[in-house]
């Protein structure tokens, strides 16, 4: 049982991992010094740390998006906007709290998390109670959110100019790894622990696969959906916090722009069905890093910044065609055909195909299927 499960998970992770491997090989062909790292001012820099640094918000959002996709069979397109609102709250609370210490930063972060959970509850109530399609429900905040963030700011891009927040967005003295990477790893660990110790994964999957059956088995679908949206709200708050400390100022128009599309893409590249059901958070995390590696690879190959999007699109289309059920079925059929040909070749030692087909009446029936 556990072996079969591990095998199933392996096939799901096969695609994103192989894509990641191909991208890394392309990078190595371009220049063998791809993995080289150097220590500048006591911290590691290089391609790999840069990728981990750049993708941190995306990874966190992809985790929440996976849960939401699994339970509610739809995607939240307001995550970037939610991050913009929560980070605006964070900046305002912090700037109004007088002196900036680790304590006030922590308190402001907790306030912004509460706002994130409230945003998640708003979206979740629409999806779980009013039974609105997730994309439509979150379109509301998508439309209004950046203006709300701007009104919280009160003016154009308030600046976070102090040592502590720049340490959070950059490097803490004495620690060789950039802080956003550490925060991301911490977050992943907390989520992994949460998933391991609770029934959330099982419940979310069962609600996503068949809501009515889950209801009959004593799981409240509304409650589970609501919970996953609140978790996604929390994820957006953490992502907003990381993004604003990285940037050092809050720009309500550009912060976390278009990240919702990338987060959904990460979920899909990770081999998860956007139509709900079983999910793998590891796949989504790999998917998120793959997107970051892809963007950086295109930059490294000196593709012009204006053409990058077109290349990215072509890449996604090819990937999705390979992963599509129809192509997979064809590939399986072709593989079976090749195998049977090889088998026949060994047994009969000649190319007597007709005889083989006549002696094996089951073969065409299988092909029909």
């Amino acid at each position: 049982m556990s072996i079969a499960k591990a095998k199933a998970q392996g096939t799901q992770l096969f695609l994103p991992l192989s894509v990641l491997a191909i991208l890394i090989v392309i990078n190595l062909i371009k220049g063998a010094d791809y993995f080289s790292m150097s220590v500048i001012n006591g911290a590691l820099y290089g391609n790999i740390p840069n990728i981990l640094f750049g993708a941190s918000e995306l990874v966190i959002l992809a985790i929440g998006m996976t849960l939401v996709s699994a339970s509610s069979r739809g995607q939240d397109i307001s995550v970037g906007v939610a991050g913009a609102i929560t980070s605006a709250v964070f900046v305002q609370v912090l700037l109004n709290s007088g002196n900036i210490t680790w304590l006030t930063i922590g308190l402001s972060f907790l306030v912004s998390c509460a706002v994130g959970i409230a945003i998640g509850a708003f979206n979740g109530s629409l999806v779980a109670i009013f039974k609105v399609q997730p994309m439509v429900a979150t379109l509301i905040l998508f439309t209004a959110g950046r203006s709300i963030a701007f009104m919280i700011d009160g003016k154009l891009s308030p600046v976070l100019a102090n040592d502590l927040t720049s340490q959070l967005g950059g490097v803490i003295p004495g620690v060789p790894i950039q802080t956003p990477i550490i925060l991301t790893v911490l977050f992943i660990a907390v989520v992994a622990l949460f998933i391991k110790t609770t029934n959330l994964k099982l419940y979310a999957e069962s609600v996503g696969i068949n809501e009515k059956a889950a209801r009959l088995n004593g799981i409240d679908p509304a409650k589970i959906k609501f919970l996953t949206y609140m978790i996604l709200g929390l994820c957006s708050a953490v992502a907003g916090f990381i993004a604003v400390t990285k940037a050092g100022r809050h720009d309500s128009v550009n912060i976390l722009k278009f990240v919702e599309m990338d987060a959904i893409l990460a979920v899909a590249i990770g081999g998860n069905a956007l139509s709900g059901g079983t999910f793998s958070i590891a796949g989504s995390i790999i998917g998120a890093y793959t997107i970051e590696v892809l963007s950086r690879t295109l930059l490294r190959l000196e593709v012009g910044t204006e053409t990058i999007k077109a290349f990215k699109a072509a890449f996604i289309i090819v990937l999705m065609i390979i992963a599509s059920p129809v192509v997979r079925a064809y590939a399986a059929k072709a593989l079976r055909w090749v195998r049977s040909r090889m088998h026949e070749g060994i047994v009969l030692d000649t190319g007597a195909l007709e005889a083989a087909a006549a002696s094996n009446p089951n073969a065409p029936a299988k092909k029909e299927e």
Partner: protein
Amino acid sequence: MHSLPAAKPKDALSNSNLLFLIAVVIFVLMYGFAMLRYPGSFLQFQTFFDLFSLNAPLIIITLGISIVMIGGGIDISVGAVTGLVTMCCAVFLESGTGSVAGAMLLALGIGIAFGLLQGYLISYLDIQPFIITLAGMFLANGLLTTIHKDPLNVTMPAFVALRDFELVIPWLGTNNRLGNFIPLEIKLGAVVVWILVVLLAVLMKWSRFGRNLYAVGGNSQSALMLGINVRRTKLYSYLLCGLLSGIAGFVYIMTTGAGNVGNASGFEMKAIAASIIGGTMLTGGVGNLFGSPIGALTLLTINELIRAAGVNSNFQAIVSGLLLYIFIVLQSAVVWLRGRGKFRLALPSWLSRQG
């Protein structure tokens, strides 16, 4: 799926028509309020027709997205494709060898190409529409910036003549502040919108494709069992949506006369919002093509109202979001109550007999 008039004599008003009716009532109420509050601008015919003239591309895109949504899909590439078409037309017209007819063909060709590619991948390869149209959006955006990055004003005489051409209706006009009579002027884009609305509404209501699409959107499994070619129907819906994006692109450049990287950016979400307000449901199978322009006009009227009130422009987005919220909750409440079978709308018999 509830569109068959004879299926249930008790609730003869289908969900499509009920949601459409709600949208119309709210639009009329809102415009009435606007006319009472700001009689100076909203009482003029010109203001009403300008809503069509200036926002023709958005309304055309809304029509396309409504068709895809009725079929149970989604297309978020429409705005980017429209932007790409405007830039391609601008480059083509400015290249010296271009002609207006050629630009029209180019616009339609790009739209059809995107529709065909996305439709084929979605319907025949079973790939999730959101991801494919997201890739389509990236592709169109990337091609747009690759072709030309800077704003490009079209100066070709034949095109400028077309751009500045306005239908003048002398018997419908208003006196301005000085007492001079100004006849009503309508841009060609508005005419295109009206023709398309009528054509597409007829297509969806009476053609085999339209009926099939409602069936596919309502329940693709039962549609398949009824012998409908589900895949081809879906492909045609995306093709039509792509074609409409192409037309919208040409109308866009016909209205503004310039190709620009920012053209029609963000239109996809506006169009989806307009479509929902107009009574189309993202779950598929429910919607009315007359509702889509009504939804777009409702959103635009709000923006005009806020502009007229002169408050912070950030309120435009917030109020649009609020309106969307009200509509979504209303729709969900209505559909839920009707689903329980305990809700009857007291309608006059002449209204409830229409299917």
